[in-house]
Symmetry: C2
Subunit: 408 residues, 2 copies
């Protein structure tokens, strides 16, 4: 395990002040799953009737907890629910033992929280392929259940970190029908991040009241242009999980509220950006927008090809406005493009248009943009009206340092 000695330069100044979400409480414990001397297990307990929606990794080798959660989602229920997450070991590719570990953790959580097993959602994040010492977790469940606190969301965000350098939270409050509805979420993730979904765990809570099926539809739609539009290293985790839990404790129905939908989207986008900002070794936050593609899908294909290109990402690390590499990445993406219709901007500087360097282009202008911490690249394909925006970070020595000896 590499020592992470510095907080990402892209980290926000502080964890946001989180509201209490009525109907949710948190506890954490240092169970020694792998890490020493830090909290590594979190429990979130949800009030009766909470609607739980979710999206998970599409990996063909997804982890045992992911398979268990996927089975449990859906349908209205009067029951409460619980989320139990450990860091340090992902319980992925652990064969039959992996399923057994999940069953044991679910059973102990259900007992400690007085819930049916079908309402316990678990996740594990960390090293793949090593047996999860589940007794270290089940032994602490009574303690976790006895120390639940509605104000402990920041501690929960810290307990689920692995190579993360800062805890990630985002929140929003909106007025719906004259009443306040709050949303607050936490996330972890900084490596093995790529769409479908980005490699991470995300838990978002709201006191809005919404039908489970409606919440699922909303979460799936927002996921497509938030978490599925970020990439750090093109590697997809076997454990990606996003759960959104609506306790309904505010009594405010938000099923048809555009305001609520927008606020939820905002929280999801903010958490997605924070994951990129904690990308392993990241020193630049990069927004890549593609317009003028033949379709939105093609635009996203181009944008992700640029975002995942090691040559583009190293050029950004080197503060080099190397638009040739952007052309290369669009060319290789597989989606239609025409060399002589391409235009490329770095920040507000148009560097190339119609297949050739912009005659007004002064490299020093683009170079100045590249020295900033927030880099914007815009490519117009010139073929249609398809659009997409994705987010990534640069590829630096820090990434190599962290990953060349993560496990050994």
């Amino acid at each position: 395990m590499a020592k992470i000695t510095a907080v990402s330069p892209l980290a926000p100044e502080a964890f946001p002040k989180m509201p209490i979400i009525d109907g949710v409480s948190f506890s954490t414990v240092a169970a020694g799953v792998k890490y020493e001397g830090r909290a590594d297990v979190m429990l979130a307990k949800l009030a009766p009737g909470t609607a739980v929606a979710g999206v998970f990794t599409q990996s063909a080798t997804r982890s045992a907890p992911v398979l268990d959660c996927q089975r449990k989602l859906g349908g209205p229920t009067p029951d409460g629910a619980a989320i139990l997450v450990n860091s340090g070991n992902s319980n992925a590719f652990t064969g039959r033992n992996g399923l057994d570990a999940v069953a044991r953790i679910v059973s102990a959580s259900a007992r400690a929280c007085d819930l049916p097993e079908a309402r316990v959602f678990t996740a594990s994040t960390g090293v793949i392929g090593e047996p999860l010492p589940f007794e270290r977790i089940t032994d602490r469940l009574e303690t976790l259940a006895a120390t639940l606190d509605p104000a402990a969301m920041e501690a929960a965000a810290s307990a689920i970190m692995t190579t993360d350098t800062f805890a990630k939270g985002a929140t929003a409050s909106v007025e719906v029908a004259g009443e306040t509805v709050s949303i607050a979420g936490i996330a972890k993730g900084s490596g093995m991040i790529a769409p479908d979904m980005a490699t991470m765990l995300v838990y978002i809570f709201t006191d809005g009241k919404i039908d489970q099926a409606n919440l699922q539809t909303l979460v799936a739609a927002h996921n497509e242009n938030t978490f599925n539009c970020i990439t750090v290293d093109s590697d997809t985790s076997t454990s990606d999980s996003l759960l959104v839990c609506a306790t309904g404790a505010s009594g405010v129905a938000v099923d048809d509220s555009q305001t609520f939908s927008d606020a939820l989207h905002g929280v999801m986008q903010e958490l997605a950006h924070l994951v990129v900002k904690d990308g392993e070794g990241a020193t630049k936050f990069v927004e890549i927008t593609v317009t003028g593609a033949a379709s939105d899908r093609d635009a996203k294909t181009h944008a992700l090809s640029v975002a995942n290109s090691p040559l583009v990402k190293t050029a950004i690390a080197g503060e080099d406005p190397n638009w040739g590499r952007v052309v290369m990445a669009i060319g290789k993406s597989g989606a239609p493009a025409d060399r002589d219709r391409l235009s490329i901007n770095f920040g507000d500087i148009m560097v190339a248009k119609e297949g050739w360097v912009n005659p007004d282009y002064v490299e020093a202008d683009a170079a100045a943009h590249m020295k900033g911490q927030n880099i914007r690249i815009h490519a117009d394909i010139g073929l249609g009206s398809g659009e997409a925006t994705v987010w990534t970070c640069d590829l630096t020595h820090g990434y190599i340092e962290i990953n060349a000896d993560y496990r050994s």
Copy 2:
């Protein structure tokens, strides 16, 4: 341009001793296209009746010289031919000027070599998006034509290098119908290397006599499991070109010779391996074999997903037998896999079988394999009989160093 100060640790001890291929001669010159004080243009002249076959990048933004070559391939002809290559500038994404530059170089080459323009094949490799100062090349064509030498193939291999740290050559001689047929080829490429095709230039010459259509079929088939099975960084060049030229000067017909086909395959595979061994920053040569996939195509999808995974490549750099990351890469590839049927070997060590760590596995054994320079990873998917082998290198600080300031 980053200074490349060291030769790849994976380089062969010496450039091979190349045979004279009757009907081919070479010359080089220091034209100052971009680099100072080194040869950066090469000319190869081919005898009348030479069959020329080729394969090119599939990039949607392919360079002007590639488009020109693709137009010219095919059909029998009594004419000779010429290949003119410069390094330092790729003449890619250079708009109408790019086509003009190609036309000027083709015209001057045809005149200097007394050939029709339709038989002049050009290539340019180096920076994308900057105008090619073609006069520096056309000014030297008379000199190049006057200094042709059948023994100058090694100099030609050096002249086409960009970030390469060593010149690449491979050769084979075979007996066909009791006569000797020789094959010899050169290649360049060390970054922006990924299938379809790998980013590079390759020129192979033989004195065998073969119909152009038959040669094209042979080259396309061998390309699929040689150059299209290597990757350094998943980035695909806009300039990839492979030409195979059969002068027929030996008088030996090789159209139906399996021996010739095998020898050509061997030269192509050797050159493909040399490109990987000069991968930017490479310290390990990695062979990834996938068996048991539902189809050969699926096997290649899995193998390339492993080969392109930054997390797998950094683990190899760290000499860490991190088979969890191999599982992750297979899971994300998009091709079918079943977690609980996967088996994974590092070298001869079976680390995992049927979704779980091999009970006989001793990590020190796999770790010992990882300390070598030649790493073998074998994944059996357990679903069918599809197979593929691909080659890559590790991802190190050297890659970041070279690419974070290649252009600035």
